[in-house]
Symmetry: C2
Subunit: 353 residues, 2 copies
């Protein structure tokens, strides 16, 4: 028997799902049947994947019949309920939600950093990291391999689409309301004008919002703790010092991070450039004299992690400052999911020939 694996995309209609269908249509085609799954709200819609119109089916046990690999791009609670069901039906689940990332029996995988972990999946589930962590970790992982990471202090500049399609719709709607006005100069004038805040706790147009996710203890946001916990797990550094401040900015897609990274060993900018230039999945754009540094508007829609503004801390020969951009819907979600699923597909093919 020599068939290609059957794939289910659960959450095919969402922000991440939409980019996944685009990637499945453009990357090397390793899949047999591709089944599109969403809620009853979208069942019956027809979406194009690999040039073929495909009907969206409703999430149910039957949807996993004969499925070898299932990508889950749905809210946490939907994954929590349905990923184990899909796994019980024999599918290997690659889950994009936060439901399983810290489960010790679920590997948290970034192929460029820890592809080997894919095989250790006692629950039949592999987790995809959160988009903020993913937007920096490929670059950080490469530097860690050379210099030995000891601390990360990170401030984020996160895009609206990190909050799903409703985040994008909200920002676009708010932008139409503030464009052409003289708002943004009096306290609260933007707040009173934009109307709906959508998934954000404050206006996002003409603003930045120092909050993402839900409240955890001691004033931390869930997003900030994810950056900490997931970086530690992916890098297999359970004691790594990590501090994050997560801030939303009025950008549609692509997260940026200002990173202060401290290492066991002394660093140089030259060596860091050399490591990053040869790291798979990383592009260095770092020549401010020519206006070269990554910005989200230039990085959006691309696969790699882009790194610029590499500087050695003036007070610490072991620390680097970096500005990193990554498309939160591609490497930050859909692309990493596709890469993990392709590793599983290769296993499948190897074991079925």
């Amino acid at each position: 028997m020599n068939r290609k694996p059957t794939l289910a995309v659960v959450g095919a209609t969402g922000a991440v799902g939409t980019v996944l269908l685009e990637l499945l249509s453009t990357r090397q085609d390793v899949w047999g049947e591709i089944r599109l799954v969403a809620s009853a709200r979208s069942a019956g819609r027809r979406l194009v994947v690999r040039g073929v119109e495909t009907e969206v089916v409703v999430l149910s046990e039957a949807a996993f019949e004969g499925v070898d690999v299932a990508m889950f791009d749905v809210p946490d609670e939907v994954s929590a309920q349905w990923a184990p069901i899909a796994a019980a039906k024999g599918a290997v689940v690659v889950d994009n939600s936060g439901a399983f990332r810290m489960d010790p029996d679920v590997p948290l995988v970034v192929p460029e950093v820890n592809a080997h972990a894919v095989r250790m999946r006692p629950r039949g589930i592999i987790a995809n990291p959160n988009c903020t962590t993913l937007s920096m970790i490929v670059a950080i992982g490469a530097l860690h391999a050379e210099f030995g990471l000891s601390e990360l202090i990170v401030s984020s500049y996160q895009a609206a689409s990190g909050a799903g399609q409703s985040g994008v719709d909200t920002l676009r709607d708010q932008l139409s309301k503030v464009a052409g006005t003289h708002l943004g100069t009096q306290p609260g004038d933007v707040r009173r004008t934009v109307g709906d805040f959508g998934p954000f706790p404050a206006p996002l147009a003409l603003n930045v919002v120092p909050w993402a996710g839900s409240l955890r203890e001691d004033g931390w946001s869930s997003e900030e703790l994810k950056v900490r916990d997931e970086s530690r797990k992916i890098l297999a550094l359970p004691e790594l010092r990590v501090t994050a401040t997560c801030v939303r900015v009025p950008v549609i897609t692509t997260h940026s991070l200002s990173v202060h990274a401290r290492f066991e060993n002394e660093v140089t900018v030259e060596k860091a450039h050399e490591i990053l230039r040869s790291a798979p999945g990383v592009v260095v754009t770092d020549n401010p004299a020519e206006g070269e540094f990554p910005t989200p508007a230039d990085v959006v829609g691309t696969d790699p992690t882009w790194v610029g503004r590499v500087r050695r801390s003036m007070d610490d020969p072991n620390a680097l400052e970096l500005f990193v951009c990554g498309d939160n819907l591609r490497k930050g979600a859909a692309l990493n999911t596709a890469q993990i699923a392709e590793v599983v597909a290769a296993e499948f093919v190897a074991s079925h020939t």
Copy 2:
């Protein structure tokens, strides 16, 4: 003799000058004549200050005749040339440019932190710090007085007006071009659409730009070095460890900073709140459960430094994380200038009665 001091506002037509005229019209009135000065481009324009239409005169030696205090809100090279001339004519100069800030014979003053330094002005010039430093330093100075500051790692979210009126005009123009479109999802689509970048090295609408100022050695921007050098000078901590990454965001006015501050002594969030609540010029808004944290759209047009998201680092009992917002045209420029000038005016009155 018991007259009020005569004031000259040099650069009265600019972004900072405009806010200064507003402040001079609303704060306690300590001034005699107020003379408005700009370049030949604006001479003859009539601006309102204290409810009175006043004609703008051209910058010349004659403009400083009989002036006791001169506020300079003009580009560096104009200050460099004209501030010493005004001082030679007997005016005390309060300069907002970068021309004199690091001159050892010019004090760099933030009244809440080092008002005493105003008197030590051998050149007759007092410098006002850069807006990014000013947006955080009142809060940091208060915490330093209690805990003893040892390190700052700062990432900024800087508003367009930090680059002057042309920054604001550029952002508004770009926003009208991207609003109502589906831009921001393909690499370079925003770059190709917005046209003029104005004073910025990349599009600012639907983007963030990790650059402010000009290139200095080892890849640092002038803005990043200002945060370092000026923080050290204001706090009288010449060896303080300071690292900044300065990033422009699509906000009209009000700079935000994500600050990792390390101290000699152990900190607690409760104690930090208490110190900040009683610090003059600081407002604490820190209750994420109720959506309370500072954002630039709410802070713009107000005088204080707003502080929220206060957390103690999970890996370091001596470090705090803060998110700070300050109006870069008020406390970041015009307000601090007005406060310094008022200290000089009080001296003047004391010595003339």
